[in-house]
């Protein structure tokens, strides 16, 4: 039978996908537009201007906060992804063993605890440690962020592992590959989409956190979200849009670079 349709396509799916992307980017477009607003409003257009970019460029507090957010998110997402990958391998594709369910529940607890509760509890625990050790660096924030990032990295990786069959790994073992080699050459490449999805989620979740950061941070450790929290109470200016726009530009450059590197490989 001659098929003139692509067996992969499902009717309406591309349309819904298109709609989803439009929905995702519509607010972002308005955000970028208002970064160039001449007036100090984020909703009333007052002509074109670059003044907010100049302001943001001069505002070292905001730059420090933005940089700190990225550092924390990179560290937390990386650690969380590594830990989550290991945990996912240990908890999938295995006959049930004692403690498996407990482990699963354990790993997902950070999802279930309202942020404010973790925040207050961490404040109490960490401030004691700060007094004892005298160390008050970014480490506390990174640990706190890593913990709530783990389930966000774990679930996609686990979902990926579950939909993978273990034939190839078994074949590798039959060919006398060491477990490490089998993992490195077979499992890891197959897992890659899950790991990327998990890392991206963890990164984004860490970038967004306000409440836990607000309670755990020490002096001079404002992140972009905690900095903004103070602003919403008083007045939000397009300076924030300018910073967000700069961020977006940076990420678009990264993605483009990634695209070309990937293309060269294939």
């Amino acid at each position: 039978m001659a098929r003139h349709f692509d067996i992969r396509s499902q009717p309406g799916f591309p349309l819904i996908a298109l709609f989803t992307f439009a929905m995702l980017y519509l607010p972002i477009v308005t955000l970028v537009v208002y970064a160039f607003n001449a007036s100090d409003s984020v909703s009333q257009w007052g002509g074109f201007s670059l003044r907010w970019f100049a302001d943001a460029w001069d505002n070292s507090a905001v730059q420090d906060a933005a940089l700190r957010s990225i550092i924390i998110a990179l560290c937390a997402a990386t650690i969380a992804t590594i830990a989550a990958t290991m945990a996912a391998i240990a908890t999938t594709r295995t006959a049930p063993y004692r403690g498996l369910g407990v482990k699963y529940a354990f790993i997902n607890t950070p999802l279930m605890v309202p942020e404010i509760v973790t925040a207050v509890a961490l404040l109490i625990v960490f401030s004691r440690i700060k007094v004892w050790t005298g160390y008050s660096g970014l480490g506390y924030l990174i640990i706190a962020h890593t913990a709530f990032c783990i389930p966000f990295a774990y679930l996609p990786i686990r979902a990926r592992l579950e939909s993978m069959d273990s034939t190839l790994e078994r074949a590798a073992a039959d060919l006398y590959a060491t477990p490490w080699m089998a993992f490195r050459r077979v499992t890891l490449p197959l897992l890659r989409p899950g790991i990327i999805a998990g890392f991206m989620l963890a990164f984004v979740i860490s970038l967004d956190d306000v409440v836990i950061t607000e309670f755990v941070k020490s002096g001079g450790q404002d992140t972009l979200p905690t900095y903004m929290l103070g602003q919403i109470r008083r007045a939000v200016t397009p300076e924030i849009n300018a910073i967000a726009t700069a961020f977006l530009a940076l990420s678009v450059i990264l993605v483009t670079a990634f695209f070309f590197i990937n293309r060269r490989k294939t």
């Binding site: 990179l74 404040l123 004691r128 990174i142 103070g230 008083r234």
Partner: protein
């Protein structure tokens, strides 16, 4: 993914940021977000060669919880009047005796013998303000010096009102509007308070912070909000007017105090004295748009703030203003339950 780069940046971050608090000549300020004039800080840094770090908080309760937990490393904090007695009571503040400092003579007499710090042994004024009515004159032209604007709104305003999302300020205005006293436990009155709020709430559009954005733009036609924000709104849209609720309105003052476990108490004292200088106090106000309680600072105000109706309370409404006192714990609990009932 480039693990090496990530690891390297992590190491740099850990080392770099652990090192900042070491050198001498530091001052760590813990203040409300977006409330500290960068110009003021710059001036202080240049004058005394002290490195200042400002960290933000977003509510009195967060600040209190954090300092109480310890290990915070801050020198200065700026609590609101109704919280200051708690700070003193819990032994968190240093008795810095600002009343004996050289610039104390500049403090307006009105702000010296205040109920939360009689004689000013602990704190000096930072800024003060009040919650009042902001209105778009194009939409409503009746009497605006009343809480009826948001508690019994005229029909032109129904569905266009924004109310400050602060439990104490809203309850204060409502209790006063119904003829009660702040911190009252009179059940019959409190029942009326709850019923009034439950009845009024559907007529409000929102309980939100974005007043400086949406009052000038016309999304809101009336607000019950802080005077500084309404001043900012008027600067954007001249149709905005300010009203003082004659039934009673809450006044707040945030005061600068030094923490008992401050690492740099001497620098903190320098800072206290520094901000009592009229010219410096004017910098604080110019940034956040509230009055400051220092005599003679108004001459240094930017032109658009001089004589602003939002900052200068007319004599006839002076009596109606009252500080939000710290209520007893049982009373606070009662109020929190009423608030939950209203917001369910």
């Amino acid at each position: 993914m480039n693990w090496k780069m990530t690891a390297a940046s992590a190491a740099i971050a850990l080392l770099g940021l652990a090192g900042t608090a070491m050198a001498e000549g530091n001052l760590n300020i813990y203040n409300w977000g977006d409330y500290t004039s960068p110009e003021l800080i710059k001036k202080f840094e240049d004058k005394y060669k002290v490195k200042v770090t400002v960290t933000d908080y977003d509510s009195n309760d967060t600040a209190l919880a954090k300092i109480r937990a310890g290990g915070h490393g801050f020198d200065i904090v700026v609590p609101s009047a109704n919280y200051l007695p708690i700070w003193v009571k819990e032994g968190l503040l240093l008795e810095a005796r600002p009343d004996q400092m050289s610039n104390f003579k500049n403090v307006d007499e009105r702000w010296v013998n205040v109920p939360w710090d009689p004689g000013r042994h602990y704190s000096v004024p930072w800024q003060w303000g009040l919650s009042g009515i902001g209105i778009n004159k194009k939409v409503y032209s009746g009497d605006i010096n009343t809480s009826a604007i948001f508690l019994d709104p005229p029909k032109e305003l129904v569905g266009k009102i924004n109310v400050e999302p602060e439990m104490n300020d809203v309850l204060f205005a409502t209790i006063k509007y119904l003829g009660g006293e702040w911190c009252t436990t009179d059940k019959a009155l409190l029942k009326k308070v709850r019923d009034k709020l439950v009845e009024a709430k559907p007529k409000w559009l929102a309980m939100d912070y974005s007043v400086t954005e949406k009052l000038p733009s016309g999304d809101y036609a009336a607000v019950y909000y802080w005077n500084g924000a309404i001043l900012r709104s008027r600067l954007k849209n001249p149709d905005i007017a300010f009203g003082y609720p004659k039934e009673g309105y809450p006044v707040f003052m945030d005061s600068v105090a030094i923490l008992k476990d401050a690492k740099n108490p001497e620098n903190a004292k320098l800072f206290m004295n520094f901000i009592m200088e009229p010219e410096n106090a004017a910098l604080i106000s110019a940034f956040a748009k509230y009055a400051n309680g220092i005599k003679g600072s108004e001459q240094f105000f930017p032109a658009d703030m001089k004589g602003a109706p939002e900052l200068n309370v007319p004599a006839q409404f002076e009596k109606a203003g009252e500080f939000l006192a710290t209520c007893a714990p049982e009373v606070s609990e009662l109020y929190a339950r009423i608030w939950t009932d209203v917001n369910k």
